[in-house]
Amino acid sequence: MDFATLAAQLNAGTILPEGIVITTLLVVLVGDLIVGRSSNRWTPYVAIAGLLGAIVALYYQWDLSDPISFLGSFNSDALSIVFRGIIALSAAVTVLMSIRYVEQSGTSLAEFIVILMTATVGGMFLAGADELVTIYVALETLSISSYLLTGYMKRDPRSNEAALKYLLIGAASSAIFLYGVSLLYGLSGGETRLSVITTNIAANNVDQSIGVVIALVFVIAGIAFKIAAVPFHQWTPDVYEGSPTPVVAFLSVGSKAAGFVLAVRLLVSAFPLVSEQWHFVLTALALLSMILGNVVALAQTSMKRLLAYSSIGQAGFVMIGLIIGTEAGYASMIFYLLVYLFMNLGGFACVILFSLRTGTDEISEYSGLYQKDPLLTLALSICLLSLGGIPPLAGFFGKLYLFWAGWQAGAYWLVLVGLMTSVVSIYYYIRVVKMMVVKEADEMSESVKNYPASDWNLEGMRPLQVSLIVTLVATSLAGILSNPLFALANGSVEKTPLLQSSLNTAQTALVDQSVATSSTPAPL
């Protein structure tokens, strides 16, 4: 194979967005190296420009005729494009939020941005990875950067503790994931490309083997750790509480989205032979996540822990879309993640702003905030109510679509549990709103009494303000003007061959079941 044909076969243009991010990362790194500390004034904006550039590049890939690249390692289909966009966008907003926070904590900004962007690159590659080795390397890129980010405030013992917990549990879970993946490799007779694995497993007559089920369980354990589904969630509250808040924002959106796209790709393309089993396991995970996440959130006193449990519950809602596996199901999952991006990041922007001004994350310290800072109160209220699914905010439409799709597919119990737990979630979200809005002047907390005058001209505050306003506007309007987002979500499902073929398989399997015996191999 000579070089020219190899280069043609690689089809390397598909990873242009990731290339842009990596280039920006290097520019930030080297620029900071040369210029020194004063580079803080421009590096974040270079990073944001790079991430937005990546999103633009993704936009031009929407209609790509040949998405498979790197000889099957990478699949830049519409599904991956949407998820890469979500991850890159969440990273961009996180950079905006983190400038002031990192400066205030006295750590260096450029390295923070570099590590964050590496995590983004890992997540973006994970979204398109179509082959086991790539999946694993991308997953580790994302994970290891996340561990580093978690422990970035190294003089803060809470941050150290969070990083250590995250590292230990994360390493264990990725070891289990790797074991599952290696079983897949063995069962398929030495094949790493996802699209071929199932064919080989079926051809080797090992599809009824216990090995496939064990591989499935191990793989799900690894994925569930990433998306923080109960019972693989134990790390979440501690890590969320201890880590720097912008990092938590990224973990709860970008990293989670990467976990979901990995789940879709791996489960749908590598495990169709045991689809009953994985649906069962995921249903259990979703129910547990919705119930436990939302119920435990009721008892939290720290805002970050509250958001941690709420994000567990939200992961449960999103999993409904994955489990039902219809066209509307996948689309609703994507749509929900899109609006979740805005509302959750908005919530975290408010938490960051509050803790910058008062130095605390306790919910009780928010009491009476309305009197001192109406804008922050409004923004946080809207984001929290949107997370709770109050119309006409974006979260309402997201939940409506998820439940709509779930009910359409006949997943009644999932939807009913989702509806009931979302009532519970309204309760604890409104508790925070009540704390801020309802309390009278004499019930104000100490930190609100000493609240500094809002000064947006401090260095690094403008970007935070921009991120706050952008997420606020998006959260308020993305629901009412949601048609473009719906079109995006539906379009990405329609244009993804993987999902389409799985939908067709499901239909033909239904027909097959009624017509023929199960001895015939399932069509692919």
């Binding site: 194979m1 006295g106 590590i115 690159v121 890129t141 290891i144 007779g189 090992v206 216990i210």
Partner: protein
């Protein structure tokens, strides 16, 4: 059974026993330095198994990376943190040990059954043997190009991260407090050079 097969069986048995014994030692011994050295023994046994499987390059890499780098790093870590802290004995610790043993044996039994019950598909390709290096190189630059290149980003980031975690921060207002914690013989110039963000 000819003599080559015999040697193979015997060496496999020896290596396997060595590996299992050392691995149990890693887990069960109380002295962490012994555990670290035994871990090295486990890695070496595994590389022996690779040699038995005709994978000389992987065996060499195993020794180089795991014994030469990872294990030595672990030993460094242990020796630098030589703080001896007596653990308070946990009451009814045997219970959790028994539970752990049961779980481990259960998983072992499950995986063992799975390995034996599965009709594994053996690769039909010729064994690469000494040509493995070339083959691996070919793969790295054709169908595994992407993960290979991505790993370089991963390594770069790990390098930066390690430096970020290891270096001392320059904080003017906390300088006095920091000097208390640092080694007295450490020259001041190093402190300030570490403060700049160059890795």
């Amino acid at each position: 059974m000819n003599i080559a097969d015999g040697v193979q069986v015997v060496s496999f048995a020896v290596l396997a026993l060595m590996m299992l014994g050392a691995a149990l030692g890693v887990v069960l011994l109380n002295n962490i330095v012994y555990s670290a050295f035994l871990l090295g023994l486990v890695f070496i046994s595994i590389s022996g198994l690779y040699i038995l499987l005709n994978a000389g390059f992987v065996a060499a890499a195993q020794v180089l990376i795991y014994v030469g780098a990872v294990n030595v790093l672990i030993l460094f870590g242990i020796m630098l943190v030589n703080k001896r802290q007596p653990f308070a004995p946990v009451r009814s610790a045997w219970l959790s040990k028994v539970a752990t043993a049961v779980v481990c044996l259960g998983i072992f039994a499950l995986l063992g059954t799975m390995v034996l019950a599965t009709p594994w598909q053996l690769s039909t390709e010729a064994i690469a043997g000494d040509g493995a290096l070339v083959k691996i190189g070919l793969h790295f630059f054709s169908d595994f190009l992407l993960p290979f290149e991505l790993a370089s980003v991963l390594l770069l980031m790990a390098l930066i991260g390690a430096i970020v975690l290891a270096r001392r921060e320059y904080l003017p207002d906390e300088l006095e407090e920091e000097t208390v914690l640092t080694l007295p013989e450490r020259p001041r110039e190093l402190t300030s050079s570490g403060s700049r963000s160059n890795p």
